[in-house]
């Protein structure tokens, strides 16, 4: 019990301490005037900007989060479907696998302006970009999960008379859940970043749009406030995925 308590405190205390030291250093650098104030605002100024702009930030965050959420849902659905089909039909896997790897070699920043030109300034191009970055880790990881399954387990269920659908429901999908959640954590952070990038290139609202505005106004304190908010949102989403994983995979906690 005591040891457990110690380990949780050291787990929380050390990283928080490191962050605090870094913030203090930053504040010190600004206070001593080593870097001009308009180029690097102090942490306190950033915090003040965050508070004074809070309402506006939340409005933009809402849009970005909405895009991320819709994009994630569609991206997961597409990735899931692709993985199932590619696992079920070997020729399809051989045909599509190189193609979907290829889609990931195209840089997001390169394709985003095209999407904006094609699909306008509303949410659509942002959602498409998110779907493009999300489906890949989901599909590839699920596919690996399905295929990593022990042949003996499949034989056992076949000997019990299980058909392909039952094999999927009872063994393949549960066995791939771990893979699914690791890919979901990657996908979530990609998704937030991608929606911000898509918003940079044109749009009416969203954290990316707000970021370009404050950048043009040289309000670096507000700029930093947005950057921190974006990081915070990503962290929050990853945390949610972790909670969901614990809930969905209770057997993992028993090991």
């Amino acid at each position: 019990m005591k040891r457990k308590l110690q380990s949780t405190t050291s787990k929380a205390v050390l990283p928080i301490g490191a962050i605090l030291v870094l913030l203090l250093l930053w504040q010190g650098v600004c206070a001593m005037g080593l870097v001009p104030g308009f180029m690097l605002p102090s942490p306190i100024q950033v915090f003040q900007a965050f508070i004074s702009d809070f309402g506006l930030l939340m409005q933009h965050a809402y849009v970005t989060l909405l895009e991320t959420l819709i994009g994630m849902i569609i991206g997961i659905a597409v990735g899931f479907l692709l993985a199932v089909l590619m696992d079920r039909f070997e020729p399809l896997r051989k045909a599509l696998y190189p193609l979907i790897v290829l889609t990931q070699t195209i840089p997001t920043v390169a394709i985003a302006p095209l999407l904006v030109l094609w699909f306008g300034y509303e949410m659509l191009p942002k959602i498409i970009l998110i779907v493009l970055v999300v489906f890949f880790p989901i599909a590839v990881n699920l596919l690996d999960g399905y295929r990593s399954l022990d042949q003996d387990t499949l034989n056992l269920l076949r000997s019990m008379g299980a058909g392909n659908k039952q094999l999927f429901l009872y063994v393949k999908f549960p066995a791939a859940l771990g893979h699914f959640f690791s890919s979901l954590k990657i996908a979530v952070s990609y998704a937030v970043v991608s929606s911000v990038i898509a918003e940079w290139l044109g749009g009416f609202s969203g954290l990316g749009v707000y970021m370009t505005r404050v950048k043009k106004a040289y309000s670096f304190d507000k700029m930093f406030a947005v950057i921190f908010l974006i990081s915070l949102l990503s962290l929050l989403l990853i945390f949610l995925v972790n909670v969901l994983q614990k809930k969905c995979m209770p057997w993992e906690n028993k090991k």
Binding site: D152, N155, L157, S159, M160, G161, V171, P250, W251, K254
Partner: protein, 246 residues
């Protein structure tokens, strides 16, 4: 009456060289019959055929007189590893064969519940496989096998992965359970002692391609004494089998 008949089965993976051939086996109601032979002799191949996973090049598998060659789901099959699904509780693992046959989950759980006591698995229902010892997992795997079909079971080296002490404990447990459930069982082993201790009859499998070279009846009444493997009778059987294997 013959529960299961393996009628002149031959099998090859490449269509040219037979792995096994001329295999004739019969299993009577409630009988415990053992296939004894060296590893790699085609025993598991034969089980894959009897269970319906593979189709033989020639020959038939008859269950209670019906031809079930190449039809999985009729005979229960326990593979070498326990293969309990790590993400299902023990009761959900045990109920799996019933679920696969379309039984509703609540009904399936109700149906398996009484067997936990009989198989010495009380209190493990809600646990996950990772929380159980090797011996207990093996018990759960056997119960699952039994839930699959209560008429004929194939067990592929069910106790080979266990340490000696757990193994002899499980042997005693196994004989006790088998006495109660009257399951006709065909099982594979490469352990001569285990074969004599547990079986009513032993088939020796040998040669290349693998075939049945001999048949030995163990005439020791059941339930067997715990120290049967220390008696002269036991040693005589053992000497006899070693001679025949050479």
């Amino acid at each position: 009456m013959d529960k299961l008949i393996v009628d002149n089965v031959a099998f090859s993976y490449d269509g040219k060289t037979n792995v096994i051939e001329n295999i004739n086996i019969s299993l009577h109601e409630g009988e415990l019959v053992c296939l004894l032979g060296v590893s790699g002799g085609g025993k598991t191949t034969l089980f894959n055929i009897i269970s319906g996973l593979n189709r033989p090049q020639s020959g038939r598998i008859l269950l209670e007189g019906y031809d079930i060659t190449g039809t999985p789901g009729k005979i229960s099959y326990m593979l070498q590893k326990d293969l309990l699904l790590p993400y299902r509780t023990i009761e959900a693992n045990v109920a799996l064969p019933l679920l696969l046959k379309g039984t509703k989950k609540s009904d399936a759980l109700k149906k398996v519940a009484p067997y936990f006591a009989e198989f010495g698995l009380e209190g493990t229902q809600k646990k996950f496989p990772a929380e159980l010892s090797g011996g207990m997992r093996q018990r759960a795997a056997l119960l699952r096998t039994y839930m699959c079909s209560s008429s004929v079971a194939l067990l592929d080296e069910p106790f080979s992965a266990l340490d000696t002490l757990t193994k002899s404990e499980l042997h005693r447990w196994f004989l006790g359970v088998m006495d109660k459930i009257n399951l006709s069982t065909l099982f594979i082993t490469h352990d001569i002692d285990e074969a004599i201790l547990l079986s009513d009859r032993i088939y020796l499998l040998g040669g290349k391609p693998g075939t049945i070279t001999d048949e030995i009846v163990i005439r020791e009444p059941k339930p067997r004494r715990a120290d049967f493997n220390l008696t002269d009778t036991f040693l005589q059987y053992k000497r006899d089998i070693i001679k025949r294997l050479q």
